[in-house]
Symmetry: C2
Subunit: 357 residues, 2 copies
DNA sequence: TGAGATAATGAACGCGCGTACATTTTATAT
DNA sequence: ATATAAAATGTACGCGCGTTCATTATCTCA
């Protein structure tokens, strides 16, 4: 291992004090140009690089943005479009702001993991992906909030709390998706939901129901899945496999279903695969709309109409805002405001809804 | 922000010295059980968590595994199957070994980035993804090697160097893929290459050519793309778009092409899309084999025969080995051996090669 | 009961850096 | 030329922890 060069040796070689070396590297205070050059030259000669850990220690600031991901063994989390895009967005912002990103896997049901992430001081701020709206997680997050740790939820909304959030308008996106189907003349529109513990699953449901109510296809007071005709409501967990499973449940009712709105593309794809096994061809026997506008939506047959969500931008924004809250270092009390952003979603029309019989 | 509780306060409350608190938390030395309990109790009362940065500083060990990713603005790197899987594998191992993973984006053509990653001491070891086999990168990596920094390349082989590597048998995988096509009776088999600066692109080419030579379809001394009939060789950059572009180039020659071996699934998918525009249907007008066995291969029409690569396991192994090299702390000179692993690949047969005319 | 061994704990230092404060050098104004 | 201000640099300390070495409490065996 290469020997560690410290500030001291640079100072000696340059004939200045350690403080001066430090000043040069941090661009602090007035400084004679000649001195600066001498120090830089010495540093170069010795191949000096400030020790980041020591800097973090002295500054009491790690320079790391924590990214919390749900950890489920054997589920390859990065492979899902949503996580991939969000991470890419975070990565861009982190790089731009000179920070690093520290990935943390959180085993969902596990103890007080969140606050220990902060208490260990290894991150200055935190972005949380895949939080679920369960009592225990709410409680944990509330502890974080009370502790004053800067964190931000992505793609999650906890109603009633004042957590920082960057979310997307899933309700509106779903509403428009279903409206699109309604405008095309479909009436019997089924809904394939994702795991209900994510707030955005509920958002999608609400958007669907609102559109259906407005079209007079549901009673004006219909609110929950229970208020839906059973043959129109299905539940998966956002995996392709769960879409295939839903196909088995849906297939007997397909004579009473004209169209399906699926809560993400993967389930939509699984559903299409599954229904094909029963001889039902998407775009011919039924219309279908997916959600996420992942790359996969472009390559199915027929190409899948889907709702685009700016995941990348959401990641970028979340990182930017939460780092600003953490790093501003405005010890002036409140510092920057909390934030709750909700970005727009957009329907991308392809061929999966044109029934050509 | 919550006040920071330090060892000192715990020591005071427990009525012991700071050293004792430290010993309890590090499980060092003999220790009266009663004292240990008193310390733990005090720590709990005060909600003490050791400061990870200070620990890193004192131990001169960050506890971070660096993961270097190529940074290309606007290319959402995580979205590619290969990166996703490798990262998941690394994530598992890192979690299991009590480390964290620090993501570092590297702008490809940029200066001496690699060694600064280590010199800053923010990581103890490093796993490098997407390294290219160019003179400048070779030189940089060699510097790392000389510096004695523990690092490991994934899915990359630099012939002539003794870098740590975890690679897959792409040559064998490609060979078997092409053999599969040959066994089905195809003779005119085109090859769609990825970006040539990755070593594994060359591996795939070699596997392809070997199979073709053995079948007597190429001269025994055929080595480079230049030795191939022009209508059989195409080059993309692993993106779907480049597959679509390849389709334009390939389409005029499709009367002389029976099958295609594409260097990854995304390009295969793009190619299929593109050729469809010209009326050529995969599995009917031509056979096709992809590479990676990504999830996408399962949902194309027809499902894509592809070569499975154990990316997840590669990530896991690389992390394990490189952390062992770094962390063993065996100051006993050489410590653990270098490693160069090559994992097996496997052909997964689906329907894209059955031509049913 | 006492001496030596061992267990248990405390005192003190340094890791490499940022920075407040003290000091010296240089510029500016009279 | 001197007084004063500003610029430039040095000195010294602490961040929270791991760890070595010194010290004290406890045990063992005669």
């Amino acid at each position: 291992m290469a020997e560690i060069v410290t500030r001291k040796e640079v100072a000696e070689l340059a004939g200045v004090s350690e403080a001066t070396v430090s000043r040069v590297f941090n661009d602090v205070g007035p400084m004679k140009e000649q001195t600066r050059q001498r120090v830089l030259q010495a540093a170069k000669t010795l191949n000096y690089h400030p020790n980041a850990i020591a800097q973090s220690f002295a500054r009491r600031r790690s320079g790391n943005l924590g990214v919390v991901l749900p950890y489920v063994p054997k589920v390859h989390i990065f492979s899902t479009y949503y996580f991939s895009e969000v991470l890419s967005g975070i990565g861009e912002q982190v790089k731009a702001s000179g920070n690093d990103m520290l990935l943390k896997f959180r085993v969902p049901g596990e103890e007080s993991d969140y606050s220990s992430i902060f208490r260990s001081q290894k991150v200055d701020a935190c972005v949380i992906l895949g939080a679920t709206d369960t009592p225990s997680e709410r409680a944990e997050l509330k502890k974080l909030e009370d502790g004053g740790f800067p964190f931000c939820l992505i793609n999650q909304h906890m109603s009633g709390e004042r957590f920082n959030e960057v979310d997307a308008d899933h309700e509106g996106g779903s509403y428009r998706a279903v409206r699109h189907l309604l405008d095309l003349g479909y009436r019997d529109i089924a809904f394939l939901s994702g795991s209900p513990e994510y707030s955005n699953s509920g958002d999608r449901l609400r958007g669907y129901m609102q559109a259906m109510r407005e079209a007079g296809l549901l009673p004006a007071d219909a609110k929950t899945p229970g208020d839906l005709p059973a043959h129109l409501y299905y539940e998966g967990n956002y995996s392709r496999t769960s879409g295939i499973k839903a196909a088995s449940a849906m297939h007997p009712h397909l004579n009473r279903i004209e169209a399906v709105f699926a809560s993400n593309d993967r389930m939509a794809i699984g559903l299409m695969q599954g229904l094909r096994e029963y001889g039902h061809v998407p775009g011919r026997d039924y219309a279908i709309v997916g959600y996420d506008d992942s790359e996969a939506a472009r390559v199915t047959d027929p190409p899948l109409t889907s709702v685009a969500v700016p995941f990348y931008e959401m990641g970028r924004l979340a990182a930017e805002r939460v780092l600003r809250r953490a790093g501003g270092g405005n010890e002036t009390g409140g510092a920057s405001e909390g934030f709750r952003l909700k970005l727009d979603t957009k329907l991308v029309v392809r061929q999966s809804c044109r029934i050509l019989r």
